[in-house]
Amino acid sequence: MDRREALRLSTLLLGGTISASTLSGVLQGCKADPKPDWTPAYIPQNSQASLAELCETIIPAGKTPGAKDAKVDRFIDAMLKDVWKPEEAESFVSGLTQLDTDAKSKYGKSFAKITGEQRNEMVKMMDDELKNNTGTDNSFYKMVKELTITGYCTSEEGATKLLKYLPVPGEYKPCIPLSEVGGAWAI
């Protein structure tokens, strides 16, 4: 959405009384730029493809959309840039760089270039290390999982296609069979 147009519409809708800071929050809510040549604002450009593949390995497309469909990589980039503490964001990026280094030493290619099976193998290793509490540093895996799950489940794709999204229920039914809903509520 054109920023100026958004501003004009918002002013009309809201009666022109809303503060600039509130408006900026509304405007930032506009959909991410759909151009395919998206450039990350925080993560290094040469890690971009690996991040996208890592998120997709954690939440793959199948009958329902995956992390790439939900543009989770863009969500993560914005979170690292704007919300996370600089030291946390830096540690995330070094974890991502390390992932590529590990992929190269194991398979000779970056995480983005190896096969889906090999990517699964590498993520499974991180998950097992966490499960078995092997003493290795799991902070990167925990961070990327948290960000991927949050980004996916709050995206339109994830919230409406994997999860059940009902913005205006209109009533409260306190006790119904789970089968009537057919899955977990998005909110």
């Binding site: 959909k31 793959p60 329902t64 799950i149 980004g151 913005p167």
Partner: protein
Amino acid sequence: MYFNSDLKSENSYDAIVVGSGISGGWAAKELTEQGLKVLVLERGRMVKHGEYPTAALAPWQLPHGNKLSAEELKDYEKQNRTGYTVRQDTKHWWIKDTESPYTEVKRFDWMRGYHVGGRSIMWGRHSYRHSDIDFTANAKDGHGTDWPIRYKDIEPWYTKVEQFIGVAGQKEGLPQLPDGDFLPPIAHNCVESSLREKIKAKFPERILSMGRVANLTQDHNGRTKCQFRNLCIRGCPYGAYFSSLSSTLPAAEKTGNMTIRPNSIVNSIVYDSKTKKASGVRIIDAESMETMEFNAKVIFLCASALNSTWVLMNTKTDEYPDGLGSSSGELGHNLMDHHFRAGASAEIPGFDDMYYLGRRPGGTYMPRFRNVGNDVRKDYLRGFGYQGGASRLGWQRNVQELGFGQDLKDNLGTPGPWVMGFTGFGETLPYHENKISLNHELLDKWGQPTLTIDCEFKENEMTMRKDMISCAGEMLEASGAKNIKLNDPKDNAPGLGIHEMGTARMGTSPKNSVLNKHNQVWDCTNVYVTDGACMTSSACVNPSLTYMALTARAASHAVSELKKKNL
């Protein structure tokens, strides 16, 4: 509504109401409906019902998963201490700490919203009556001073308020929590219904009721019933919960007797030492920084407990150098809040094939059962109630769990186990030494002195908290719950309950209190204070319903006194 100009001839009213939140809205409604010309002064910006910019936004329309950026958060260091209020969808309802600072001798979390409607937009909506157990508590155990009123004095006003605002509630017939005039309650879900029976079987005095909330379960007074979105805090386009914006201010506006002036920071009351009455208020226009005066026969301070007290303290006269209403030595003292967050939660086995539709705007409530009836605690005074509820965990649980790929997706798409929680809300005793004072060293954005807050929970509260935790744990255990977690947050400071009370308390004599039994300042009877400042004790229930009832009662008194030419 129209904006009053600063022409002298237009500066006189019958009454001035300072603040437009829960209490100010009621004062405006009652005074205008009884024929008075009323000026409502609000320090913040104008907001009208329906101007809720985020009310219909979906999760993906809120940036950063609804979190604030580090840059944005710099303005909300203290407001963000709740952990749940300052978000992309709600940040416009909270003040910037950078503009309105205060000083903490000990940690005190002071949460504020400066705009028309005040915190009635973001309030929790739980609406309970105080009982005579509460009104007589101070007199019986000697803490604080006696309330000058009893339940019978306020009972008709509770009814009047409930009938207007609409309270969904379940009658339980308990002396410690009088029933009100309720709309149908919001329903228990199947886990809560089961727990109500199990708990009652083991602990007959512990009743797992539903929260009594100012949310409409049916259309009411021209407002639409709840749509079960549970997005109240963003402002409700349906008007399905009570706020000044949806209810009292429109009623006042309808009379044609209200002028509302936003961006008007009341600096002090204009006191006439000859008549010993207030003649008006002095304000600073928040935008132009201009100072001006407005005159009225009667003034209602409804600016929230600490800010109403600030206005009195900042009204320094030769007679009252510590501020209007300070002669008893109690002005600014006896600050109270509820202590909460102590309790327990656990998984409830079974019910795996059951779910619900809709998001409730309130949960369960368990009325106080300690130090009532035959229960006498040796280790602490007063009591607590529990808010809580049962629900199935959502996708968020998977952040903490193992797994990835299709397994993770399957888990995200399936609701988690049922979890039941109890959070105690406990009474805080009135301690004279819990106090606020003016700080002329630190000024706010408008050059005004700020507050220094010196307040803490003491032994009685700390001992009660242990019992809040163990009672919650034992109920869950007795109900067959598993993975019981006892919640005992160590960073629990006053303020977080957002129930500031007591700094201009009511009492039985000018010697022990700031206000009389009609909420009039003893030293200046045409000034009424009817917000949380007036509270003589805190009880353990959410206080807003009591502020509303006391405000309506005081407004009626003011009108009759004006007619008798007593003010």
